[in-house]
């Protein structure tokens, strides 16, 4: 086999057994590459299980800064006999299989188009460590040492990362260093290194950070001033709650009393979680919940209450593979329609679509401002890939001059000075957004009765058709106001140059940008737009109008985003070409590019 000399462009996949401590070893590997200034994209492909099942950790290393997933595994580090057969099949011809040769590899696993690199991982671990649990853990560090040497990762960087990892347990540093050196030395003594496919220090990450979207959401909620989170455990959203609590403990303890400036409530189910958020928000605190598709399904009745009674709610939906319990540990953008129109009756909810952890932070804050301003529920639509995987992201930023937009709240003084009676559902300003009062504000003014039943401008129950119409028509009008407040889309060209337009959102962005670049290299230029919000901004409408054919890329089977565009903008469906990926793995540039080429050639034929 001819060695291909490739620098800073490879995919390494670690095949492990879950519950064996491999995740932290793999993360240290990815972090070391990141510390060498090379853009990395780690993806944790894990089972819905705690111990004993196959789990993979895939790291794409790309000097050009492409952050989407890429097909074709260059190096597979196989330490799980259960998945060995498929793991070996998954390696690209000419790739490498790094495996534990403590036992001889069975003949059935020998492919003649790949390279085999045996490291006696468990044997070395058993020789140097007595405790079986430690043998297991250090086996992981042994393969990190071996792989680092094979692809030329700076070992001093790896050691620094290890030292940081065990900062609080410094006794663990020397045995980890020993394990690392066992792997390093075995490679040095037995193989030619580095491989033709390797890494090299560059300066391509700038001030970026390596962080997961859920942590950024949790921090965003803290910076937005959320004081109550109610939630119910569900993959892949749970780590938002963990992050919120973790950072609240650091950032939200009253320095004098030591008491908490937040309430963190694990609810009995998702229904209760959103009920608590509605209650807290009604009572003037910023509150939020996070969940995934099944949780949103359960919350539907309350979502309608929030819409109709006009109570601000921030709901973070970290999507996973549906329907039903679906693929709880795989990613999808499958809750677009069920979020946009959640609940019975005529309902619509604003949605924001972050595509990086930095945007998870920023848009979580925006969600709170929008919810308070519009007095409605606002979704942050994330997904498992964005939420649970580490991403190379711009740093999180907060503008110290920014003031929260708490919307239209009447104080006791405002109520005192009002010449007209207070109407909770009265459109005073002509923007269809009413004013609200917080319970306890004034002894005799501003009280009202919140209800999910039909009500007039003064929150009084009414079954009169004209009263109902005035209210729901105002809500429709409020939706028009929302269009002027939500973030505008991002464009990737100064001016339109093609009759084709590419539309994408959320985590599809990485792969879409890469696909555009790949096509550009082949002389195909397509205009593109990343949608950041629903309702659709006027600029979204304009972009679609200006292109004959619009290619909509998304990660679900039924092209839900395309349906949303058709439904909301009355676009002729024949103008919207759909590209989808819904196998639970993040979409790749290759998948987008080949589908575009296929569809366009059909369209032109």
């Amino acid at each position: 086999m001819d060695p291909q000399h490739v620098v800073n462009d490879l995919v390494i996949r670690f095949a492990n057994v879950n519950g064996t401590g491999s995740a932290s070893a793999n993360e240290m590997f990815a972090k070391s590459v990141f510390r060498m200034g090379i853009p990395v994209t780690p993806k944790n492909i894990f089972p819905s299980n705690i111990q004993g099942l196959p789990t993979w950790y895939e790291v794409r290393i790309n000097g050009k800064g492409y952050l989407g997933r890429r097909e074709g595994i260059d190096i597979l580090v196989g330490v799980n006999p259960q998945s060995q057969s498929r793991d070996i099949e998954s390696i690209r011809p000419g790739g490498y299989y790094v495996y534990d040769n403590s036992k001889k590899l069975h003949d059935q696993y020998i492919r003649d188009d790949i390279n085999y690199i045996g490291i006696p991982m468990i044997k070395l671990a058993m020789e140097h460590y007595e405790n079986p649990r430690l043998q297991q853990l250090f086996k992981n560090i042994i393969y990190v040492g071996a792989v680092a040497t094979l692809i030329d990762v700076d070992l001093e960087v790896v050691k620094a990362v290890i030292a940081e990892q065990f900062e609080k347990k410094p006794k663990l540093v020397p045995p980890n260093y020993l394990a690392l050196s066992l792997g390093v030395n075995y490679v040095k003594e037995n193989y030619e290194f580095p491989l033709p496919i390797r890494v090299e220090r560059v300066d391509k990450v700038g001030d970026s950070i390596l962080i997961d979207g859920n942590t950024a959401c949790g921090l965003g909620a803290i910076y937005a001033g959320a004081t109550m989170m109610a939630w119910y455990p569900i993959t892949p959203s749970t780590s938002i709650a963990s992050a919120f609590e973790k950072y609240c403990k650091k950032l939200r303890i009253d320095p004098e009393s030591g008491k908490k400036n937040y309430a963190f409530v694990q609810a009995e189910d998702e229904l209760a979680a959103i009920g608590m958020v509605i209650g807290a928000s009604w009572n003037g605190a910023r509150a939020f919940t996070s969940t995934s598709g099944p949780g949103v399904s359960l919350m539907n009745e309350f979502i309608g209450l929030s819409y109709f009674a006009e109570i601000p709610v921030v709901l973070i939906n970290v999507q996973r593979g549906g329907p039903s319990t679906g693929m709880p540990t795989r990613t999808q953008q499958g809750d677009i329609l069920s979020s946009a129109y959640a609940s019975h009756g005529d309902t619509k909810h604003p949605m924001l679509f972050p595509s990086t952890p930095a945007e998870c932070f920023e848009m979580t804050v925006q969600c709170f401002d929008l919810a308070d301003r519009l007095l409605t529920l606002v979704f942050l639509i994330s997904d498992l890939d964005l939420g649970m995987n580490n991403h190379l992201s711009p740093p999180l930023k907060w503008d110290d001059n920014k003031r929260y937009d708490l919307g239209k709240i009447l104080s006791a003084e405002d109520l005192e000075n009002m010449s007209e009676p207070f109407g909770r559902y009265l459109d005073v300003d002509g923007d269809a957004i009413p004013y609200r009062t917080i319970p306890g504000t004034h002894p005799t003014k501003g009280s009202f009765f919140t209800r999910g039943t039909s009500h007039d401008e003064y929150a009084k129950y009414s079954e009169l058709g004209e009263v109902y119409l005035r209210n729901v028509d105002r809500l429709a009008q409020k939706w028009e106001t929302a269009k002027t407040l939500v973030p505008s889309p991002e464009f990737y060209q100064k001016e339109n140059q093609s009759e084709y337009g590419l539309v994408f959102f959320g985590t599809t962005t990485y792969a879409a940008i890469e696909a555009m670049e790949l096509m550009k290299e082949e002389g195909v230029v397509i205009d593109s737009m990343r949608v950041k919000s629903f309702p659709f901004h006027a600029e979204v409408v304009d972009f679609i109008e200006k292109h004959d054919q619009v290619i909509v890329v998304e990660q679900n089977r039924d092209a839900q985003f395309r349906t949303l565009l058709i439904n909301e903008l009355e676009v002729n469906p024949s103008r919207l070409i759909s590209i989808v990926n819904y196998d639970g793995m993040p979409i790749t540039a290759h998948a987008i590019k080949t589908q575009i080429v296929d569809k366009l050639s059909v369209a032109e034929a």
Partner: protein, 350 residues
């Protein structure tokens, strides 16, 4: 349709300590059936709030769905109210309470709203010892949907259509005791003497105060053979005690007989005085309450009165250790950590 009562009243009406007359605690005119037990409970709530000199805007009234859940419009018009969705009042109240620990929370529910669709949220509010008064207006049937048996309908009770209930009843008081609720009482809509002081005590209790109030449905469950009819309840009522609630700083005039009376001091200095009628029962001993409840049940009686109170009750906020200032009053300066801290956090991710 809501009918608004006239606001003006006779100038000679007695004002309470905070300057309100009783009419200031009223709501709009009830649209429930004439004679409905729920209206009597609304009256007791008005009376209790007036007597303890509560400022109406310092209370939030919340409910679920059903006849009972309509009642918050019939009292305390100057309080914010929230008629939420079926069975979910506890979660709304939990959130509201988290946002502002300084208001009094009065939750009103029914037997369908609590013992069926809302059972999950009810038991978890008990578990957290949420600081609220939770009143179930218990009539054993679904009034608003025309009289179906509810989960609190007694085994063997005869419905208006003549059918006998084949299912065991959920006894909400027994359940609340089992779940370690810190204040448990039962009363009867027709017994204002007992109900008014019980509501007052419940509102002073720092934790989950549960009141199961038998409240006959005159339209669908007041027939012969029903165990929730006025006639049946009056004939089978058995009280644990004669009951009085003495707010803080108020002189105690009533004399209680030594040996038969008990005094329970509440955290704010108020007192509950009980002239005990039930033998072998101590209001601060959960086990004795459970036993008394079972004894009454075995004789077909309905035990009313204060059954249990935990004077050491620690509410949900205490468990969470939240700030003394209500969370909804914290400003951006306190809540937002600022960019410098964020820069440090960023460094940890490099």
């Amino acid at each position: 349709m809501s009918y608004v009562k006239p606001k003006f009243h006779h100038p000679a009406l007695k004002k309470n300590k905070v300057g309100y007359v009783k009419a200031d605690y009223e709501g709009v005119i009830s649209t429930l059936c004439a004679g409905c037990g729920h209206d009597s409970i609304s009256g007791a709530i008005i009376q209790a709030c007036y007597e303890i000199s509560l400022e109406p805007h310092k209370l939030a009234k919340l409910s679920g769905i059903g006849c009972s859940s309509k009642t918050p419009t019939y009292f305390l018009s100057n309080s914010h109210g929230f008629n939420s969705v079926h069975g979910r009042m506890p979660s709304i109240t939990t959130g509201a309470n988290m946002a502002n620990k300084d208001l009094i929370y009065l939750g009103v529910s029914g037997d369908g709203d609590t013992a069926s669709i809302g059972m999950g949220q009810f038991v978890h509010a008990v578990r957290r010892n949420l600081n609220m008064t939770y009143i179930v207006m218990n009539n054993g049937c679904y009034g608003l949907t025309k009289g179906q048996d509810s989960a609190t309908a007694d085994f063997g009770s005869i419905s208006k259509s003549g059918s006998e209930n084949p299912y065991q009843a959920i006894d909400l008081v027994g359940l609340a005791l089992e779940l370690n609720a810190t204040f448990v009482g039962r009363s009867f809509s027709g017994d204002k003497e007992q109900l008014v002081p019980m509501i007052k005590a419940a509102m002073s209790h720092p934790g989950f105060a549960f009141l199961d109030v038998i409240s006959p449905c005159v339209t669908f469950n007041n027939n012969k053979g029903s165990t929730k009819s006025y006639t049946h309840v009056r004939a089978h009522i058995e009280a644990t005690s004669l009951f009085d609630f003495v707010p803080k700083e108020e002189e105690i005039n009533v004399q209680y007989n030594e040996g038969t009376s008990t005094k329970v001091e509440l955290f704010d200095g108020s007192e509950i005085h009980l002239s005990k009628l039930a033998p072998n029962w101590d209001p601060t001993d959960r086990r004795s309450a459970v036993n008394r409840l079972q004894d009454a049940k075995s004789t077909g009686n309905i035990l009313t009165g204060l059954l249990y109170i935990d004077p050491e009750s620690q509410d949900f906020h205490s468990k969470l250790d939240t700030s003394d200032i209500p969370l909804n009053q914290l400003k951006q300066e306190v809540l937002c950590p600022g960019n410098e801290k964020l820069e440090n956090i960023n460094s940890g991710f490099r």
